[in-house]
Symmetry: C2
Subunit: 343 residues, 2 copies
């Protein structure tokens, strides 16, 4: 695992951030691979993601993976979301921004920071910006905020604006945590294990589909029972409650129309402004980024393509967490879309 | 509103109940309408339901409703689930069964008690047993446990066995409540408002569909914002935490195969034993009783019919909480199925 690099910049928090317009000493965690003279590909993290878990199937050769973007042919940048634990987050921010006092940052804060990083690296244009989930939302936000900076964007199981359904789904785990016995309004001195467990258990059912449970797919992952699977992956022990809420806030407020107040919230109009070639790529059984929302988006994109992963692995298929066939399909389609050699 | 009647019986808790095999002084809350000489129709309550909210569209003439089962032609029995607040429940049970010490009762306990009530009323056969959600599950359980007692059963947005997906969805609100700051392992002396709020907010997103949110259907209910809608209907103020958990336990353990251990959990086999004519009637967009599960069930029923409410009103459409058209469609199909005059 390469050492994490940090890009530090005093940023002015966006108009939608809380507090808005304040100066904040931001630190962006990132990795780069390869030579900056090659076409640049930026891969942003998702909810709960780290640099290491951010779509390695797209660039890594670990475990025999065949990358779409081999690092001898592409300059790969992997970035961590503010709040995600590696970039500025409740667990690592300096006073007066520590823990429960971490600011509510927006996608705009994240995207402007990533853009500044790219500038500092000497990247004039991104060949591709590809993200999963909150990463897919970042792809939309980057393509809207810097329309001339991105040639290809791929939104895997994400959306241009967080739907009301998605917003309310997130209210579930949020309420479970903030009303938990050990969260203490975020002023905990020990990890709020019960609150984080409640948060994760609420979340878990949304991440996969009805069909996944029907087929007992936990058995494919080597677990005898659903309870074993949940205990291993959804107990929340390693999380940080304030971090979970920080990212969640960013997600709930995701909305590209905010960059164009003159569009008055008309998503179709703002989508029509995007210049990048867009590949909008949901999973058929995603319960909170349903493909129907993406199909509607694509109607309004200048250069939009729609592909769908036909899978029971729900939301997580979009991050490469589904079957081998699901991931292979994504890789082939992404390679075709960006014109990469891959066969 | 008629006065609630109570049928009291010392019951032996079922083999799956906790504690199993113990004697419990059960009290079944019910209403009857009409004359016992007419064909009998039993309508059981759902999760969170009361006698008053239990499918009144099927029998009531209130608010201009045209009933499928007018009470001058049918003997209508409405029953409340154990744990639902009117029948024996944590809030009304005597020592040593009060509050957090309320037993974990099963559908079997409920169904045997309902059967005993029918016997005591002189009902030899049910013309129809029709329930929504947990009521639909009760319909399956009654038809399996007393195969010669039910002529027609209608399962509205329910299932014969609680799926693993459904089980895990329920783990969400359950975890939110049991880990909440004011639940105190059920030994609260004041209503655990924060825990119940968390419970309800987690639950709310599941009750409706993605499309419902996309179309902002809360506006059709007279609410300006989603938050207004949630605050009015999903704040959990009027609930009782221990009651929520008692019912949830029954639901999570729902499984008709338990009555036939020789079927070894083979649902198809147990479904094949049901003699009643069955109308299995989900909502197209139900997120936790998905129509796919019902379609599979119907394949194995001797006399099974499948109908589906084509609606964005998700689970709650099955209880008559969707559009007027949704409810009208259900009424017509139910009338046709049981041979009732209705036009």
């Amino acid at each position: 695992m390469p050492e994490i690099q940090y890009f530090s910049k005093e940023i002015t928090l966006s108009p939608q951030s809380e507090p808005a317009g304040k100066s904040f000493p931001a630190k962006l965690a990132y990795w780069t691979f390869g030579d900056v003279s090659n076409p640049a590909v930026l891969l942003p993290s998702c909810y709960g993601g780290t640099l290491a878990t951010t779509t390695p199937f797209l660039y890594s050769t670990d475990e025999g993976n065949k990358p779409v973007f081999p690092t001898n042919k592409y300059f790969v940048i992997v970035t961590g979301l503010l709040g995600g634990g590696e970039s500025s987050s409740p667990i690592n921010a300096p006073e007066p921004w520590k823990a429960a006092d971490f600011p509510h940052v927006t996608y705009e804060d994240n995207i402007r920071l990533q853009y500044a990083l790219c500038e500092s690296l000497g990247v004039k244009k991104l060949h591709a910006y590809i993200g999963f989930s909150m990463g897919g939302q970042q792809a939309y936000h980057m393509a809207t905020l810097y329309p001339d900076f991105v040639e290809h964007m791929v939104c895997l199981a994400g959306s241009a604006r967080t739907s009301w359904h998605n917003w309310n789904f997130l209210e579930g785990p949020r309420n479970a945590l903030v009303h938990s016995i050990d969260f203490k309004e975020g002023r905990y001195t020990e990890t709020p294990l019960r609150g984080q467990r409640a948060f994760m258990r609420v979340y878990s059912t949304w991440a996969l589909s009805q069909g996944w449970y029907r087929q007992k797919c936990w058995e494919q992952l080597g677990f005898k029972t659903l309870e074993d699977y949940l205990e291993a992956g959804w107990s929340g022990e390693k999380a940080d409650g304030n971090g979970l809420l920080a990212l969640l806030w960013t997600w709930q407020k995701g909305d590209i129309t905010l960059y164009h107040p003159e569009d008055k919230g008309d998503l179709a109009k703002t989508l029509g402004r995007i210049k990048a070639k867009c590949l909008i790529f949901p999973s058929r059984t995603d319960t909170y980024f349903p493909p129907e929302d993406n199909e509607e988006e694509v109607k309004h994109l200048k250069h939009g393509e729609f592909r769908c992963i036909e899978t029971v692995w729900g939301h997580i298929a979009g991050g490469g967490g589904g079957t081998k066939e699901d991931t292979e399909y994504m890789k082939k389609e992404i390679a075709r879309f960006v014109g990469a050699e891959y066969a």
